[in-house]
Symmetry: D2
Subunit: 308 residues, 4 copies
Amino acid sequence: MTTNTAVAEKTAAPIPRKSPVADPDEANIARLIVHGTDRPGIVSEITSVLSDFGANIIAFDQYTSDPVGGRYFQRTVFSLENLSVEVERLRAALGGALEGTGLQWELIEAKNLKRVAVFASKSDHCLLDLLWRQRRGELPVTISMVISNHPDLSEDVRAFGIPYFYVPVDKEKRDEATQRHLELLRNNVDLVVLARYMQILTEEFIDEVRVPIINIHHSFLPAFIGAAPYRKAKERGVKLIGATAHYVTKDLDEGPIIAQDVVPVTHKESASDLQRRGADVERRVLSFAVEAHCQDRVLRDGNATIVF
Amino acid sequence: MTTNTAVAEKTAAPIPRKSPVADPDEANIARLIVHGTDRPGIVSEITSVLSDFGANIIAFDQYTSDPVGGRYFQRTVFSLENLSVEVERLRAALGGALEGTGLQWELIEAKNLKRVAVFASKSDHCLLDLLWRQRRGELPVTISMVISNHPDLSEDVRAFGIPYFYVPVDKEKRDEATQRHLELLRNNVDLVVLARYMQILTEEFIDEVRVPIINIHHSFLPAFIGAAPYRKAKERGVKLIGATAHYVTKDLDEGPIIAQDVVPVTHKESASDLQRRGADVERRVLSFAVEAHCQDRVLRDGNATIVF
Amino acid sequence: MTTNTAVAEKTAAPIPRKSPVADPDEANIARLIVHGTDRPGIVSEITSVLSDFGANIIAFDQYTSDPVGGRYFQRTVFSLENLSVEVERLRAALGGALEGTGLQWELIEAKNLKRVAVFASKSDHCLLDLLWRQRRGELPVTISMVISNHPDLSEDVRAFGIPYFYVPVDKEKRDEATQRHLELLRNNVDLVVLARYMQILTEEFIDEVRVPIINIHHSFLPAFIGAAPYRKAKERGVKLIGATAHYVTKDLDEGPIIAQDVVPVTHKESASDLQRRGADVERRVLSFAVEAHCQDRVLRDGNATIVF
Amino acid sequence: MTTNTAVAEKTAAPIPRKSPVADPDEANIARLIVHGTDRPGIVSEITSVLSDFGANIIAFDQYTSDPVGGRYFQRTVFSLENLSVEVERLRAALGGALEGTGLQWELIEAKNLKRVAVFASKSDHCLLDLLWRQRRGELPVTISMVISNHPDLSEDVRAFGIPYFYVPVDKEKRDEATQRHLELLRNNVDLVVLARYMQILTEEFIDEVRVPIINIHHSFLPAFIGAAPYRKAKERGVKLIGATAHYVTKDLDEGPIIAQDVVPVTHKESASDLQRRGADVERRVLSFAVEAHCQDRVLRDGNATIVF
């Protein structure tokens, strides 16, 4: 299996670029995510704690699935002077205020960018769009590695200074590939993005990876579930084609949807035209979903999502 | 069954309005539709005939499913002085030119507006949109009658001067309703439009009506086929909802699609919000489809459509 | 001038319809709008008061133009048992909490629908869309009257049970019409909507009417300011046409924008086709803007708007 | 001036990729463009010639600005066996048939890809999108060179195997830069694309370059003509931002529009957010316009365009 990593060792020196999204005060910005069963007074309790610390709320979003006894979701972005010094004291205060409420919460410092592994095969459009947006400072992430079952895109990826791991997936040895994937990812990443990765992940991978997985499906789900959606779309004569970014669960193409978009098409487009038109939608939708996730704007609500 | 028609007799006097789409020269405008197996020279042969008659081509669209041996579709709009006098001679000339080609063709004078029956139930949005547009001169059709399984919308419809026939549909007596429908429609209409008509048509009706039927389905087909698509859309957590206008065949929700559109939605929308947002898409998509059909811009190609 | 009102007296009996948006608990729902210079702790202070009263927050939106020293905007929707009994006590508590903050605030009970006067001329599409949505229960407003400089649409309006006042606008006697308008509106309405009203309002009217005025402009402002935007759009060869709903100020077509939308067009569309296609956008955009305004979701920020 | 070209000499070896759009029969495909004053029989005359040669029409589009005496535009795509052998004989036949009609026409073999020079400054989004699409085989063009007034993007461009010419534009020596540009382009390219090139072209350049120039303007023209459209859009509070691809004429931002698109924005977006959101629209619109132009689908009609 060492042969796979050998490819990565020749990684070209990265092109120096501006650093990821960061302004002077970013070190003082944090995001607080709260969710659980709704009960009166949540907003007040939480904002009181923030107010006591002198935090300045920059953005506040909340959603209740039902005014009475619904599920509650809240995302608060705030700035707090000397955040890194204060953060543990703040954590303790929030923990005290929310104790016994049954609410789950998480406090994330904005400076801690999520570490992302991108899986790709031979198609470059989604992968390149992510790499390029990250380089431009549009995506607040660290792309830690690209993993592919083909060597084709290695040069492109390494030009961005990002390691490329070629892990072939042999039908008879899928478990071996899974092990290799898990070795590469373990403790190294916070998110896996499938950027038109043309292999089905094993159940073991999904169980063991322990970080969210975002996939881009090349149709407007739930229409055209499964393989070859553009051919099916052509046959059915639809007038719009689309793409869907969703979290991966064990039910193929059935996980919570994060983002979707479509473009109009006509009878003139062949199945391969649809594929090409669709590729534009895929890269746009996937980049949007990855950005939203990495800003902690996507909260899961059963098999649906709240996108603040 | 006479009780049903009794309601129609009280039809209010129509509000006088400007006549349907018509300009001074409309009497001289015709549309020629040609389709069949593609072969070299079709365009040349047909336009030669038109040219010999001194016709002026206003719009010309053609489509070949495959450059070699594909299916061919052509729509030509032209003006010809004294069309009503010349039309039979032109028909003969076209018949001669196309004899033996195996191509099917039809020549339609634009002044002959298609006569339409609209079927509705209790929802008024699609029905009223068609009536308004027709009255404004936007839809080149004659709305000959509205048929409903409920009496609720009779006042609204009759205010437009259009007959309203209340034909209740009793589950045990669906055949009786079918007979009543066929009696009302036979020789009276060129198109049936189902404007959120909440009854499934009988096979007999579809067999016997002998005119095309356009339905509006309240989802982006083939997603959410069947009943309650907005509830299903909410449960699946989709980020877009849509509507589909299609020709009715015996395969429910499977007929050729004419037009589709979507609008973005978020987690904030309840299932009933989706229904309301969706209603806007439904009326827009259905009106578009009816207009396109009535201008002979929709050609069927197997289970798909060409929309010129 | 009494002749003008004479027309209104013959108003037909209204068609009984379901009442405007209302569910059993609507009587207990209120909206709190707060805006002013941002300062730390606002959210906490306000939500504490609501929490003390046992109010349940249904929706909460806030926006700060700048994290430091920006302008602050907040809209909170909550339910409170026995609201009508508690409302004055709540008002006092909020007044106390916000005293000295320099923040402006308003508490609106959802059951108090805004009273709207719609101005129209001869085009019916925007007017009918508003009347129809209100009747369906989609628009939480009371449409108190329609005022027009033409008698053409009186029948249509009165079929909805709404008074129609025909106030001709003579170029030489525009002040007279203004007086008549103000007489009709004074203390009777909370909002004026110009639904393709083809007269320029006098400065006096804008000064004296004392309620917001929403207009629909038939272009994507600031493109094609002024008259005949569809003709100008055709001449400029644009590939999209649109509509803009905005508040009316003394600067014609320059007031704060509430909503905008566009549709794609091609070279095939004539100027009158653009007008027709545009009409669909106009009614959609205007209805959206009126609904948002009447739910207190639109806050003015200088010459821009916050739309929650 | 030799220093400028020195940079280009180090061009890295191109990454081998699949060749541009080409299928086995592409060598036999041609496009015929005809335009001029409309007269009866044009379609028939032209298609007769094609039919006599045994050509098979693949696509046919026509447009008349007015049914009577309007301007006529036609684009025909056809395949003809042994096109390269037959093309001169066909040209002669078409010339004969169209002689004296006053119509202008051009016959283009599809295999002759248009040669394109892309001008860029520091922003990479439009430039990279063109390079990626060309490499993927989506854009039927040869990108012959990139010219920039900055050296920043040279590495990125040369990774595609495309020459990069750094031509600084000194305000006092703009004529010198113009000369350098013209030297590089003369006889070498068929199209100039300004991919967010931040220098105004000299009148001399526009006069002398002798090939069409396509520019991407970062607003929905004619709104926000001139500099800083995103800042202006923020100030005006618009709810949509867009981009416009147009041919360059001497009237800045006033040339014929080829394509436009918009995206919705809200009060939450800062001027720099608008810029970033807008960048996505810019690259999409520019790529669309370049593709359409290079397939000869864009015909100029005064200051507007026909896009087939």
